[in-house]
């Protein structure tokens, strides 16, 4: 079915393959940049991945003006302001984010500060409030899940107001995303599993939620197919570069899909669970996805059923049975990942306590993702999903 109206955008140049990183200086020169600020985190730097990026400058005229490798998991406005200051102090002319969602979002927000000259990002909260292009921005993901390398959004924590600040603007799209499997091969199995399930949730919710459209559907389907084929393999055999590259591609494809079609209740309640019980985003998404799918059987069961062949099952010809087969396939993958990596399949296993479920439900209904969910998400509905997922 064609939507009455939709919009689609993805202006990011994607470089995918073994040794893709070798093109870094060429891409910088294409963007008119020579002196980069590298934004990363201690884990990525400790694994030697920042060193790999520095080596990629080779004999070119490009260089790193400064490396910031202290980005915390939930980056805040203080870090973002510090990164922006170091960018200006060291006369850099482009950003390179090396890491997962937090490093990428930190670089996006620091870029906003550098270009607009503000130290208060509060004024840019919301949608399409940036009115000018940002400094050249290259992203080298070291996880395969967030999809932030191809999205127009950024989220950071504001220490002053104690709230999360969310920004969406077409100016936040990176210019280039470099998908090199050498940058993810050292990722531990459990993180590989959790981030991969994050990508699956992006793709599936983009496919069945209200903002779906034919273009994002194509990306979502391609992502789901790759994830069902390669996620378990990349968890079991981390050095399998084909599987790693496939998962980087799946994450990128799912990122493009959900950047345009957005996500639903699974993300809404996963955000809430992260806020209330500090459950990592990918883990929470993985636990909630089957329940989120079931929650939407009434309103989008026919759309979910279309995914039967994509998840490797055979259609029965019955919409309800097919939708149930899709959920069963997701549960089976979750179980296999649990056996291979210890990825939790219930909230209890993830450390959530029963008395936190009400707070999770309260926070869930204030998440923007629930607006896009086909089924109406009230407090009672959110609590019901949380209770089912508790285990």
């Amino acid at each position: 079915m064609i939507p009455e109206y939709y919009e689609f955008i993805c202006p990011v140049k994607v470089l995918s393959g073994k040794k893709a990183l070798a093109n870094l200086s060429f891409e910088m020169e294409q963007l008119g940049a020579k002196r980069a600020m590298i934004v990363s985190d201690p884990g990525v730097a400790g694994a030697g991945l920042v060193k790999k990026v520095l080596e990629a400058f080779g004999e070119s005229d490009c260089e790193a003006g400064v490396v910031y490798d202290q980005t915390p998991p939930d980056s805040g406005s203080k870090v973002v302001n510090e990164v922006a200051k170091q960018f200006l102090d060291n006369k850099c002319d482009c950003f390179i984010a090396v890491g997962g969602g937090s490093s990428i979002d930190t670089a996006k927000c620091a870029n906003m500060i550098v270009v607009t000259g503000t130290s208060d990002l509060m004024q840019f909260q919301g949608v399409d409030r940036l009115d000018r292009p940002l400094k050249p921005f290259i992203v080298i993901p070291t996880t395969a899940g967030t999809g932030s390398e191809v999205t127009a959004a950024a989220v950071i924590y504001d220490e002053e107001s104690h709230t999360k600040l969310a920004f969406t603007s077409n100016h936040l799209f990176p210019d280039v995303a470099i998908l090199d499997p050498a940058m993810t091969e050292t990722m531990p199995p459990k993180i590989t599993a959790a981030t991969g399930m994050d990508a699956l949730t992006h793709a599936m919710e983009a496919y069945y939620c209200l903002a779906k459209n034919p273009v994002s559907d194509a990306y979502a389907i391609a992502a789901i197919r790759l994830i069902f084929k390669y996620l378990l393999q990349s968890v079991k055999k981390g050095k399998d570069l084909e599987a790693r590259l496939a998962m980087l591609n799946a994450s990128m494809l799912a990122g493009i899909a959900f950047s345009n079609s957005l996500v639903g209740v699974v993300h809404g309640i996963a955000h809430a669970t992260g806020g209330v019980a500090r459950v990592p985003h990918g883990v929470a998404n993985s636990i909630y996805l089957p329940f989120g799918l079931e929650n939407n059987f009434d309103k989008a069961g026919d759309v979910i059923a279309e995914l039967v062949p994509i998840v490797g099952e055979k259609s029965t010809g019955d919409v309800k049975k097919d939708a149930e087969l899709v959920v069963a396939a997701v549960r089976k993958l979750g179980q296999q990942l649990k056996e291979a990596s210890g990825l939790p399949t219930t909230l209890k296993e993830a450390g959530v306590t029963e008395d936190q479920l009400e707070d999770i439900a309260k926070a869930c209904i204030n998440d923007g993702s629930c607006t896009i969910n086909p089924e109406d998400i009230t407090y009672e509905v959110a609590l019901d999903i949380a209770k089912k997922a508790f285990g």
Binding site: V127, G368, C370, P374
Partner: protein
């Protein structure tokens, strides 16, 4: 050859839609105030709103707008346009996009889904405002319309049905009294 400005003549249909949206915004503002004073469902929703939150609903570019303020669990109508530097704005990209939800042809969630409306400000505040406006819409639009535009058909208590009747009966007067604000 010099440049010249091409004269712009706005079609009658555009002017009509803009007028309808202006009146609908005013009706929404007036009803928001009334319902916040009388309806428990909305009052419960407003319980955790920021005190003195100023928010606007408007139409881009340079279209009609209204501004409301949350004070002590109630809503105050501040008037047409953007008053007191609103912290939160829900903006429709053009008159055509605003016309659809304000005439009951589209739900507010669909307006966001179709990128017809956008939010300036904190997302959580925006979601709360949207949920509150849905409660107000229960009083503004006939149930037969809401069955189509809401994700789930709305339910009314007897007290709410009486209030809806009251809203319809006093709407004209409310609009007239606030038209010049």
């Amino acid at each position: 050859m010099g440049t010249q400005t091409v004269p712009r003549k706005l079609p009658f249909s555009y002017k009509l839609k803009k007028t309808v949206v202006s009146i609908a915004l005013l009706a929404l503002g007036v009803t928001f105030v009334k319902v916040s004073n009388k309806d428990k469902e909305l009052q419960e929703e407003l319980e955790d709103w920021k005190e003195n939150l100023v928010f606007s609903l408007g139409v881009l570019p340079n279209g009609p707008a209204i501004t409301l303020k949350h004070i002590g669990g109630r809503i105050k109508y501040l008037g047409r346009g953007y008053k007191e530097d609103p912290e939160l704005k829900i903006l429709f990209k053009n008159v055509d996009s605003a016309f659809l939800p304000f005439t009951g042809q589209m739900g507010s969630h669909t307006a966001f889904v179709q990128h017809r409306a956008l939010l300036h400000g904190n997302v959580v505040d925006g979601i709360k405002a949207n949920r509150a406006m849905n409660i107000v819409q229960k009083y503004l639009l006939p149930k037969i319309v809401l069955n189509y535009t809401f994700k789930r058909p709305p339910k009314y208590t007897f007290r709410q049905l009486m209030l809806k009747l009251n809203v319809y009966m006093t709407m004209g007067l409310g609009i007239a009294l606030n038209a010049t604000k």
